[in-house]
Symmetry: C2
Subunit: 344 residues, 2 copies
């Protein structure tokens, strides 16, 4: 290992003190332009690379932001990450990313790693398995900004960024009702997650508003992946009478459902109108195109990061007193899969 060039070497070369070099490198205003230039010339000439280890040791900051997501290889999550990366990059921050794989234990381990890595802030979307958020207490205690997104801890006193899942599901269900649907099946994921719990609420509210009865047999739990359609449809085909509407909490799964409905000879939307969720690419590519809820992942990531950054310079404060929830706009995008009244 060759000897590293330090600010001492630069200082000696230029004929100033290390302090001045440090200041110049950090663009401190109180350094004469001339000396600054000389210093930067020497930096280039000598191939100096700042040692962030030492800098971190002094400043107690890493410029790293931690992100914990359930899965990296999810359409929605990777859009969120893309948005976060953009905002972080613009602010000169790095992103340290890890996935919980929906496991509470892994999430805890990841949170610990993040803490020990001394991230300056942490963004989290909870695992479906997660029962409490005690593992984030060290962050709160140390005043490290912590922000939840999408899958948030509702009554934790921590800020969360979400879309209004209740309203979105309400709109989706109302839309189906407007199309004349009388029996609407709702397919959703693990109800421990706020996202799905809220959508179920929205579904129920819509029924209420329209004076329709809630029928528990029309609720189907699923892991919502692209293979789940087969099982879901086999359940649906056993319902009597058959439903005439289907609201699936995820586009890939909705696409899979449509596929299997077709295999059963069911026409979409004539026999069963379908609404998905996410506005994934897939909703625009299957036949018929799927009516869906636009879930602004990229924007959510960007906003979450920008919000976190705001709190980065307030040490010891964290977000504790900032108990609010930030809700993003989402819209129902109506496409062919749900439009019964074609003649209208």
């Amino acid at each position: 290992m060759e000897k590293e060039i330090t600010i001492y070497d630069i200082a000696k070369d230029v004929g100033v003190s290390p302090t001045t070099v440090s200041r110049a490198l950090n663009h401190h205003p109180a350094v004469h332009e001339k000396t600054k230039k000389k210093i930067f010339d020497a930096v280039l000439k000598m191939g100096y690379q700042s040692n962030i280890f030492a800098a971190n040791l002094r400043t107690k900051r890493t410029n790293n932001i931690g992100v914990i997501v359930p899965r990296l290889n999810s359409n929605f999550q990777s859009s969120v990450l893309a948005g976060m990366e953009k905002a972080a990059n613009e602010a000169g921050l790095n992103l340290i990313i890890s996935q919980s794989l929906e496991s509470f234990e892994k999430e805890k381990a990841n949170a610990n790693t993040m803490f020990n890595s001394r991230v300056d802030g942490l963004l989290v979307s909870l695992a479906s398995d997660t029962e409490n958020i005690d593992h984030y207490k060290p962050f709160l205690r140390k005043g490290i900004p912590l922000l939840f997104f999408d899958r948030i801890a509702e009554q934790s006193g921590c800020t969360g960024i979400v879309i209004d899942n209740i309203q979105a599901a309400l709109n989706a269900t109302n839309h189906l009702i407007e199309q004349g649907c009388k029996r609407i099946v709702h397919v959703l994921g693990n109800i421990k997650i706020n996202v799905y719990a809220d959508r179920l609420k929205g579904y129920k509210y819509a029924l209420l508003e329209n004076e329709m009865l809630f029928d528990p047999s029309l609720i189907i739990l699923s892991d919502l992946n692209e293979e789940a359609g087969e099982e879901i449809i086999s359940k649906i085909m056993k319902l009597n009478p058959l439903p005439d509407g289907l609201f699936v909490s995820n586009d890939a799964c909705a696409a899979s459902c449509i596929r299997h409905l077709k295999l059963e000879g069911i026409r979409i939307p004539e026999d069963i109108a379908v609404v998905g969720f996410n506005n994934d690419v897939i909703s625009r590519l299957v036949e018929p195109n799927i009516t869906t809820v636009n879930y602004p992942g990229y924007e959510m990531g960007e906003l979450a990061m920008k919000n976190l950054i705001k709190h980065l310079d307030k040490p010891n404060e964290g977000m504790l007193e900032n108990t609010n929830k930030i809700t993003l706009r989402s819209d129902l995008i109506i496409r062919k899969s749900s439009k019964k009244e074609i003649s209208l």
Copy 2:
């Protein structure tokens, strides 16, 4: 800011020297079990958190691995990242991820950031825009392991992990020929990228093998997104005679093509047989299911990371002498979109 607990505090509390505490914490064998236990008790009692800044400063390691990808929100790339995260996590390493957004300039900036952040190793998939890899020279000079994946720098002397794109495209094209296709259109991305250049080669080789002439008018350049189908199909419809085979370098785009072919009244696979690439979820959800090349992203990520880790403990060495290329197996998955001989 409260005073941090250091190994000095622990040492004082237990009645040993800081050195012993340091050794105990690092599970140095030469520490008596009893003292070790006392030390760990004190650690718990006093709420000690190791200061990695100081540790890094001494060891000159961050335990951070940098990853630069063209886009985070891509199906394939996020699978790769998932695989990398798993392998890194198991090895106690963090992942710092950034995206180049296909821009050379951004990639350079990201590489610089990674270098200044002192990542212990770097994994890169090149931007389509990238013209040279001089911006990685600092890594090579310092002996920081550098590994390319998927989109690699062919003649750089750096190790790359890829699938055999030539062979995959050869197989795909041969399959179409076996189905009786005589005029096969190939849709591909920026030819500066090894991935697409190689696939074009494979396509040509297949024609050669079958004594068919290469017709440049059957090659369509595209950015391969899910909206590209419209333009591609409008080009195809102008060809005379119409082609009877279509090999698209990406499933989302293939799906979009199928959609627009159908709108034109073309039957798949009877009139035109279609093969995609990637084995994305979408290939299993559109009608007909798309024949495609399974592109093992997760495995690629895992393998790339494991390979990098191997080189982490060989300072000053890098991967310079290790000029080989690691090629992953990929298979053609035959589905309905390409099977002309249904009666067989």
